[in-house]
């Protein structure tokens, strides 16, 4: 439990932890934005991961020779940032995510892909490859008179990785729905679906057929993509995640802010339960300013659910009051002026 005034550095601490997982961390910051303002010194985060009898040393930071590059180390050996996900699953809930259901599809898609990553660490590598091929193709289309054989090679890569991404999302969704069915009664149950062209292709065709179909769709859509600025107008990078408050039969975005947060908590708890059951290790949960905004019943239900999950959880709040029920069970830290002291 991290308590302290706003701006004391609680969220920064959670962000540092979040960088021990693949991707840009909980703020979605670019590497250059992670450096201390007014300094060009490299940054780094290191942690010892203890699981049963095994310990692993994880570390990540900016490359001292190139601040645009991120380095990772696992037990002292150089690793890819995506490899960190194989060691440690991590999920978070932040105040910025309060708008998740109301904003554009991309934030929901990223949220869902992070859940998938918790169960399937290779999802990150696939997504990176897909994004890279997508960007290469977009640039090629923007330049005019693109070489068809070159485009063909990139579209092949997009079709292969794109179908793999959509298939991973569908497989995950099925398990998440099953985990939600066992969910906590204190929080509203969300009905959830992934909507996207390739996901739908996989609903009616084999992966190989979907690959062919998506590739042909990309080849036929070159003209339209050029007109739209280069980036493909269809594909798994356009998919959306639809969440419905099941009992009210109401789209999440129409629900009250409090209910939206409760739906998100349901999703995070179900996803953690799922990852814990399948990978044998509950994800580390970073819950930024979550407890204070719940009514006392739900707060207790959340603490009960976290205890049942049995992993490691980091909660922040301005006041220690809401954490009272955890007094005997958790470690409390005070964060003040970017330094941490044990209470």
């Amino acid at each position: 439990m991290l308590t302290g005034a706003n701006g004391a550095g609680k969220t920064n601490l959670l962000e540092a932890l979040s960088l021990l997982s693949p991707g840009r961390g909980l703020r979605g910051a670019r590497l250059a934005e992670l450096v201390r303002i007014g300094s060009d010194a490299p940054w780094g985060v290191a942690a010892t991961l203890v699981r049963g009898d095994a310990t692993h040393e994880l570390g990540t930071g900016s490359d001292p020779a190139n601040s645009e590059r991120r380095l990772a180390r696992i037990d002292g050996a150089a690793a890819r940032a995506t490899d960190l996900g194989s060691e440690l699953a991590m999920l978070w809930l932040t105040p910025q995510m309060d708008r998740l259901f109301a904003e554009g599809a991309s934030a929901r898609r990223r949220f869902f892909d992070r859940l998938v990553l918790g169960l399937d660490p290779t999802h990150g590598t696939r997504s990176n490859r897909y994004e890279r091929a997508l960007r290469q193709r977009a640039r090629l289309l923007q330049e005019g008179r693109p070489d068809p054989a070159w485009l063909d090679g990139l579209e092949r890569e997009m079709a292969e990785t794109g179908v793999a991404i959509a298939a991973a999302r569908r497989a995950y969704l099925e398990r998440l729905v099953a985990a939600l069915a066992l969910g906590n009664d204190a929080f509203p149950r969300p009905a959830i679906a992934v909507s996207g062209l390739v996901e739908e292709m996989l609903g009616r065709a084999s992966a190989l057929q979907a690959e062919d179909e998506f590739r042909q769709r990309l080849a036929a859509g070159r003209g339209a993509d050029i007109a739209a600025g280069g980036t493909a107008i269809v594909g798994p990078h356009k998919s959306d995640v639809i969440v419905v408050h099941e009992a009210k039969d109401m789209l999440a975005e129409r629900c009250s802010t409090g209910e939206q947060k409760a739906l998100l908590i349901s999703l995070i708890l179900a996803a953690s339960q799922l990852t814990g059951a399948e990978r044998g290790a509950t994800p580390v949960l970073l819950l930024d300013e979550v407890a204070a905004h719940l009514d006392p019943d739900r707060r207790l239900a959340l603490y009960g659910a976290l205890e049942a999950l049995g992993g490691q959880f980091w909660l922040t709040g301005t006041e220690p009051g809401p954490f009272q029920p955890l007094l005997e069970k958790a470690q409390f830290f005070d964060v003040r002026d970017a330094s941490v002291s044990r209470l």
């Binding site: 490359d63 020779a65 890279r132 290469q136 054989a149 070159w150 090679g153």
Partner: protein, 197 residues
């Protein structure tokens, strides 16, 4: 030596792969402490290499002779050409001893984002070589990165009209793996399990 000379040396050293500003300063200090044994011979070696090492006009390898020693070696199998991205990959394959044919160094991979187009790579000369009598198989050993795979696809397309069999390295090459980082056993296995396209 004036401060400006030292600063220039450090700046140049920092441009080397694996060296940041800090390690460049350390390298410069080491050089200055070992002027006779290290700094002067290194300077001479750099000058000599800059003057004598050139691209092989046939395959793109680096050597002091043109065509390079590999292209000149009559004992090597001239029916098979292995296409690699960089000279570093050629060196890796040579170290492994797994391949006894000839090479073709593309000089990179296609990347619209980095402004590297087919004209910037040795693709046209590869197609010319493929038309030569005696070339029967071309093995594409570009990396498993998105760019490496797209380049392999492009080169395959350009070679289609030559009638030469085109194959790709088989399993064992990790995604994003660069040949230079693979151990010899993996390289040998990848070459043996290559697939004809």
């Amino acid at each position: 030596m004036s401060g400006a000379d030292l600063e220039k040396l450090i700046q140049l050293l920092a441009k080397l792969p694996g060296l940041g500003p800090r390690s460049a300063r350390r390298a410069a200090l080491t050089l200055l402490k070992k002027r006779e044994q290290l700094m002067t011979p290194l300077g001479e070696a750099i000058q000599a290499a800059a003057a004598s090492v050139q691209d092989c006009s046939v395959c793109g390898n680096l050597d002091t002779v043109d065509p390079c020693a590999v292209c000149n070696d009559k004992a090597r199998d001239s029916h098979t050409i292995c296409v690699v991205e960089d000279v570093g990959d050629l060196w890796a394959l040579e170290r492994s001893g797994a391949f006894r044919g000839r090479y073709h160094v593309l000089g990179g991979t296609l990347s619209a984002l980095d402004g590297i187009s087919p004209d910037d790579l040795r693709i046209a000369s590869l197609v010319r070589r493929a038309h030569d009598d005696g070339v029967r198989e071309i093995i594409l050993a570009t990396s498993a990165t998105v760019e490496g795979q797209a380049t392999a696809h492009y080169v395959t397309d350009r070679l289609a009209s030559t009638g030469v069999a085109v194959s790709r390295l088989g399993h064992g090459v990790p995604i994003g793996g660069e040949l230079d980082y693979l151990d010899d056993g993996t390289l040998t296995a990848a070459l043996k399990s290559r697939k004809t396209l």
